[in-house]
């Protein structure tokens, strides 16, 4: 089983968001980057579980610059066999998907796993795009997956419920909560990661299709109105007459 896991970096979840250059750029000064949680906790660990059950290899792929290598090493420390970095700054989902597709086309992967979304731009774009480039089915927001021979059975989130689906490999799957249990890298894993291959390949110069022209922060909230805990009639009255939400 050849498994490809798409790994991106994301600002640490406690990052204070601000912008520079006349609000046209995300201010990266002092920002700590982590592996995007969905990629690390669910996509990568699911890949490892499948490898442990069925044999095979887990390769990670990242579209990014040399600055991404710390997060890539973390993925190797958790247990991926090898990593590839496509050497270009990611600018939009379309570009990232085309770059990964170019790399994955010749790889003969049985499974391509991604996170549900990156937590900075929250695009949920790359998985579906990649599936179309590779002409594979795309199972989005999977919460569980088992493999039987060349068939995968998955539970995926649908509006208001859960659907159990079955499809033949190869497949592209985006992974949501429930897919796997987060793993913490141990010392041995961290040492081993230093010796694992991190291949850098040139970009295929895929074009971006969209651009962020400007950013803005939401207007600051006005101070909270405190209500006497013994007077819930007042709260209901305010929700009805002032906030007009009930």
């Amino acid at each position: 089983m050849k498994i490809l896991v798409c790994i991106s970096k994301a600002p640490d979840t406690t990052t204070k968001i601000s912008f520079t250059d006349g609000d046209t750029k995300f201010d990266e000064s002092g920002v700590k980057y982590i592996v995007n949680p969905y990629d690390e906790w669910y996509a990568l660990v699911k890949g490892l579980e499948i490898k442990e059950a069925h044999g095979g290899t887990v390769t990670t792929v990242t579209v990014g610059t040399a600055e991404d290598e710390a997060t890539i090493r973390k993925a190797l420390a958790i247990g991926a066999d090898d990593a590839t970095r496509i050497d270009v700054k990611p600018e939009d989902g379309g570009q990232v998907a085309a770059e990964i597709a170019h790399f994955a086309k010749e790889g003969g992967y049985d499974l391509v796993l991604l996170g549900k979304e990156t937590i900075d731009y929250n695009g949920s774009q790359v998985g579906g795009m990649l599936a179309e480039h590779l002409d594979m089915p795309f199972i989005s927001l999977a919460e569980s997956m088992t493999i039987n021979g060349t068939t995968a059975t998955l539970d995926k989130e649908i509006i208001g419920g859960i659907q159990t689906v079955e499809a033949d490999l190869p497949l592209v799957v985006s992974c949501a909560k429930g897919m796997a249990e987060q793993r913490i890298p141990n010392m041995r894993g961290i040492m081993a990661a230093r010796k694992k291959p991190l291949n850098v390949v040139p970009s295929s110069n895929a074009a971006k299709q969209t651009s962020f022209e400007k950013y803005a922060l939401p207007a600051p909230k006005s101070a909270v109105k405190l209500i006497d805990p013994n007077n819930m009639d007042e709260l209901v009255e305010l929700l009805h007459n002032e906030a007009k939400v009930i």
Binding site: D120, N122, I159, L226
Partner: protein, 313 residues
């Protein structure tokens, strides 16, 4: 300009998001809706009232397979010459829109939360609701996925023609074995009112405090991450950075501290009510209304107050 809108018409009723996307598209151009399945004409005709001029229905399949829907939407776009295609940024939109983007070479904007501005940029929600971005598409064709509850549906009082059409949806490579729809529950991303509980509620045996209030309000229920991690509540109720992101009109949070990762999923709510024993809990900074008090006493009182209000209104 011709604008195409995909809607899912499978449910018992059309979802509010269907009216939202039609309203949104109407602000951009002449609206054609494309859908599939067995929905009867009277149900589809409602979309006319919100500005759709034409509705194309493919009766040959009724699933939500992402490849079939993608092919059908591409066929419809060609037929009506639409360069702009609108989806609801829901679980179907998230699976279909990216595929279509590659197929049509159309730039994709997801997470849209407002109508396009005069300079052509579309406002989107980024950094898990902590900021807005304004995105431009550099291709001729574009696809926009609109977050549920971002705009209010507006009736225009017009009428739509309904036309059966062949969307060339092709085969599906994904077999549906089972669909579980818990009945009576309001899907969280669609809900206008949400009541949510955190670790402050101490255990699953106390959840009637939350569900009773939700029931009298007609609200959906949600929870913080530790609550679903401990299996007090199902996974799909977990809101936040790593859970579902929601934007209801009203979010009532009881026994939740308001960690930044929790706020990331709920900060687009229009009105936030926080109930917490700790006056210093960070959530109060993000709240519109706050009750410093014990959820075990405050929630039953609030439930009674809502009952009283409902009875007299």
């Amino acid at each position: 300009m011709s604008v195409l809108v995909y809607i899912n018409s499978n449910g018992e009723k059309l979802a509010k998001s269907a009216f939202e996307v039609v309203t949104y598209a109407k602000k951009i151009g002449e609206v054609t809706v494309v859908t599939n399945g067995k929905a009867d004409d009277s149900k589809l005709a409602q979309l006319g009232k919100y500005g759709a001029s034409k509705i194309l229905v493919d009766r040959s399949f009724d699933g939500i397979d992402e490849q079939q829907i993608m092919r059908m939407v591409a066929t419809a776009a060609e037929k009506v010459g639409a360069n702009t295609i609108i989806f609801s940024d829901d679980l179907i939109g998230k699976a279909v829109a990216p595929r279509l983007s590659v197929k049509m070479n159309a730039g994709l904007i997801t997470g849209a939360n407002g109508i396009p501005k005069d300079d052509g940029t579309v406002p989107v929600s980024v950094f898990s609701g902590k900021a807005f971005g304004f995105v431009k598409v550099n291709t001729d064709k574009k696809i926009i996925a609109l977050l549920p509850n971002s705009i209010q549906p507006e009736e225009t009082g017009s009428e739509a023609t309904i036309e059966e059409f062949a969307g060339n949806a092709g085969d599906t490579r994904v077999k549906v074995k089972e669909t579980k729809l818990p009945d009576g529950d309001i899907p969280l991303p669609e809900a206008e009112l949400v009541v949510s509980g955190g670790r402050g509620l101490k255990g699953p045996e106390n959840w009637a405090l939350i569900t009773d209030l939700a029931e009298v309000l007609g609200a959906a229920t949600a929870c913080s991450r530790p609550v679903s991690d401990s299996d007090w509540r199902p996974h799909h109720e977990h809101v936040g950075q790593t859970g579902v992101a929601i934007a209801p009109n009203l979010y009532i949070a009881a026994g939740i501290s308001g960690a930044i990762q929790h706020l990331a999923g709920v900060n687009r709510s229009k009105v936030i009510v926080v109930i917490n024993t700790d006056a210093e809990a960070p959530f109060f900074k993000a709240a519109d209304y706050g009750v410093v008090g014990d959820a075990f006493e405050v929630l039953p009182r609030l439930t009674e107050a809502v009952k009283k209000f409902k009875a007299s209104n």
